[in-house]
């Protein structure tokens, strides 16, 4: 191992450090460096052993038994046991971690020091993903305040995990420095230390990468991808994911999209090819205006005859709906290329002659904040960014069923009996082919009356300096596994 080699990753500053509650990339990156998952969910949605060496599922699909790895220690030297796992999962329940979305209702117990048993309240096909969920990082038994900085000489005592790195220093908003854990149970890490350097500005990250101050960055807009491709000391990573912007209309009573013709009109007025060309230089993939992305290749139905750009039809539909000219405001966050997306959409729609659109862009944090008077969830017509999900099922369940209204995910208030039934059906089947057929029907319904436009599925960009080897960027960038990385020179 090159003990003095430093791996430097650039990212936005983390805000929520609690391993059970964090949600975004830099937070996850920090946590998974310090802690380990019981099982590792790989980008291709397969699950592999990690702190758990193996597991069995009972026939009724209600009991999961995990066997734990032996000889693992925490950074402070204390051994890792089943008590830690039980504590961790109970804490997830206590703090109502987002991981519960996948885990559902369960009970956890430890028959012995090396075994943990989960008992489910109902069958849940996603449970195993829940065990490997972003927040399901194993903390030490009794850590009531994990990742809280304390006053005094040793402010980082609460950052105590079994992970490949231990936190050496942490300056909020500036950087985190990790040293490799010499006693790590896994394969030894090929470099001496790791730094996460926090940036507020994405262009600054790219500049720093280009001038050799960083080894890895991700999630930059397509325009920056061109720059990186053109430079010779860096390597561009382009990952097709299910990440996408959604342009959605509210469909609840009294809303614009209550009338299906309005939903249709918007779709006809949108030239998705042009959007992809202008905003992503054609790097995106056009889908079917439903959340089933082409990356889910098996589930994606490329035979759906999606309705193309037809401005006359759009106007005719509006006329028919008795609206004539649709005057409204398009809201959006200032992340990714969404500001530009709004500007281009406005032009496309207005050029049909039957739209009159204003744009209102909010700072990302504010826009996604439900207590803000104008937020993504309440506006009539808005752009929302949806991150990568490992399966279409999660997206459908979260965003387009009745249960999604209470959780703030069903922003279009789209409740369609057929969809409800299809999603419930898909939830209970583990057979891929059945699911595929269900999803084909879902696509058809979205084509018919879906309240959303998905202009494209944007690729996820990442880049490394040319000395980085063995880095496999995860679709959820924060979960990218740096253990296998090595550095040349």
């Amino acid at each position: 191992a090159q003990d003095d080699a430093v791996f430097r990753a650039g990212m936005a500053p983390p805000v929520v450090l609690d391993p059970a509650l964090h949600t975004n990339d830099p937070e996850t990156a920090l946590n998974r460096a310090i802690y380990d998952y019981l099982v590792e969910v790989l980008p291709d949605a397969t699950v592999s052993p990690n702190l758990a060496t193996e597991w069995t599922i009972s026939d009724d699909l209600l009991t999961y038994t995990f066997t734990l790895r032996e000889g693992v220690t925490f950074h402070d030297g204390s051994p890792f046991t089943s008590a830690d796992v039980v504590f961790t999962f109970q804490r997830l329940q206590e703090v109502t971690s987002p991981a519960l979305n996948l885990l559902g209702e369960f009970e956890v117990s430890a028959p012995d020091a090396n075994t943990v048993v989960f008992t489910l309240a109902a069958v849940n096909a996603d449970f195993i993903y829940g065990v490997g969920a972003t927040q399901a990082l194993i903390i030490q038994d009794g850590s009531t305040e994990p990742n809280v900085i304390v006053e005094g000489d040793n402010p980082l005592v609460n950052f105590n995990g079994t992970g490949p790195f231990s936190l050496e220093s942490f300056s909020p908003g500036a950087r985190a420095v990790f040293t490799t854990n010499a006693d790590y149970w896994g394969a030894p890490i090929a470099f001496g230390s790791m730094e996460h350097i926090y940036f507020d500005d994405i262009v600054a990250q790219v500049d720093a990468l280009l001038s050799g101050e960083l080894d890895f960055i991700a999630k930059f807009p397509a325009a920056q991808a061109d720059r990186i491709e053109a430079a010779d000391n860096v390597v561009l990573i382009e990952l097709a994911t299910s990440q996408h912007p959604v342009i959605r209309l509210r469909t609840d009573e009294g809303s614009l999209g209550e009338d299906v013709r309005v939903r249709q009109a918007l779709k006809f007025a949108t030239d998705r090819e042009a959007l992809n060309d202008i905003l992503l230089q054609g790097r995106g993939v056009i889908g079917n205006n439903d959340p089933i992305a082409p990356v889910f290749s098996f589930f994606f139905d490329d035979t759906v005859d999606n309705r193309g750009y037809d401005p006359e039809m759009a106007c005719a539909l509006l006329e028919e709906a008795g609206i004539g000219t649709l005057e409204t405001t398009l809201y959006g966050p200032n992340s990714f290329e969404y500001e530009d997306l709004a500007a281009v959409l406005e032009q496309q729609w207005e050029s049909t002659g039957c739209f009159d659109i204003d744009i209102q862009i909010f700072e990302e944090g504010l826009y996604y904040d439900l207590s803000n008077p104008t937020n993504y969830f309440d506006v009539q017509l808005g752009i929302t960014g949806w991150g990568d999900r490992p399966s279409p099922q999660i997206l459908l369940r979260e965003a387009y069923t009745a249960s999604g209204i209470a959780t703030g995910f069903n922003e279009s208030r789209f409740i369609d009996e057929e969809i409800e039934a299809l999603v419930a059906q898909a939830n209970e089947t583990t057979d891929p082919e059945t699911r595929r057929q269900i999803y084909a029907q879902v696509s058809e319904i979205f084509r018919e009356r879906g309240p959303i436009i998905i202009p494209y599925f944007a690729p996820l960009f990442g880049a490394t300096s040319d000395r980085v080897q063995g880095l496999a960027m995860a679709p959820f960038v924060g979960r990218t596994d740096f253990r296998s990385v090595s550095l040349d020179g």
Binding site: H22, V148, P172, V177, A208, S211, E213, L370
Partner: protein
């Protein structure tokens, strides 16, 4: 003079108190739910409510203010709502250190340059050299900081590779590395300051050169150099000193844009983050520190002015 000093300090404290109320009031108006901002979009309602209770967000607002203020003056600045809930004081003080470093560096570049240019322009009032200085310094100030920063990065970091493109200030950096990192941000700040100080110095020179004592000194037969350096500059720089001290205040808290462009962990960025996350204790503490330095800079400006100006010093 002592009386003057005392009076100024009392006024400074009053100003700080007024500002603290203003800031506190403003933060109360910030939209958005702190708990949700902290826990994010996917947080569960129960978790949100727990957090609110824990942070004392349900207390009446005047009580929150009094709690905060009494803590603040006794040195207990509380803990941040976010990023591992660090104790605020060490965090802010660390950033103050960074900001001071950048401020001093920027001043070290800009002051001698600006004074030199200003004197040169003032001595050649309305001649071509004056016009050139005036237009050039205005041109650099006419560009927003993020444009000059961008250009500097593209030319000197990405193009020539002389300096790093970011100034992320690792704790273990050597002084040389630090300087190299801070050069481009400091130059960017210089661009902003330059025109202002140049014009002040120039105006000071022109005003002073018109005063009768310059004629007296010249007619004593003193060499021109001595007339300028010993007599005119001494008085002409008085208003400039005020401007410099005030720009120092600006350098501490006003470099938000530059800190963003170069990702320098200064007070400005800390503050921006605090605003975005509605991290009220952190926001209040950092604004108070910025206002303190701003007011302190003004105080120092006044004192320096008084000290160097016998008319005030000897009252």
């Amino acid at each position: 003079m002592a009386r003057y000093l005392l009076r100024r300090i009392v006024l400074l404290l009053i100003t700080l108190l007024i500002t603290s109320v203003v800031i506190f009031a403003l933060t109360q108006l910030l939209p958005g739910d702190v708990a949700r901002l902290i826990l994010g979009r996917e947080a569960q309602p129960q978790a949100l409510e727990d957090l609110r209770l824990e942070l004392g967000l349900n207390d009446p607002i005047p009580m929150q203010y009094v709690n905060w203020l009494s803590g603040f003056v006794t040195g207990d600045w509380g803990t941040s709502f976010t990023s591992g809930n660090p104790p605020i004081r060490p965090l802010v003080l660390e950033r103050v250190g960074n900001s001071l470093l950048l401020a001093f560096y920027a001043l070290a570049i800009s002051i001698p340059l600006a004074i030199f240019l200003g004197v040169l322009a003032g001595l050649n009032e309305n001649k071509w050299i004056d016009n050139v200085i005036s237009v050039v310094s205005l041109s650099v100030v006419g560009l927003p900081e993020f444009v000059t920063g961008l250009v500097l990065i593209n030319v000197f970091a990405l193009g020539l590779g002389w300096f790093p493109a970011s100034a992320t200030a690792p704790a273990d950096a050597t002084f040389g590395e630090m300087l190299s990192q801070l050069t481009l941000p400091a130059i960017t700040a210089t661009f902003v300051l330059l025109a202002y100080v140049v014009r002040m110095t120039r105006a000071g020179m022109i005003d002073e050169l018109k005063k009768p004592y310059v004629r007296t000194v010249t007619l004593k037969g003193l060499p021109r150099r001595q007339v300028i350096v010993k007599h005119v500059l001494r008085n002409a720089l008085l208003p400039t000193i005020t401007v410099i001290a005030i720009s120092f205040g600006w350098l501490i808290g006003g470099l938000i844009v530059i800190e963003n462009v170069f990702s320098y962990p200064g007070l400005g960025r800390l503050l921006t983050a605090a605003v975005e996350r509605k991290d009220i204790p952190l926001l209040q503490a950092s604004v108070m520190v910025i206002v303190f330095f701003f007011a302190l800079a003004n105080l120092i400006a006044d004192l320096l002015y008084a000290l160097l100006n016998p008319r005030i010093r000897l009252e």
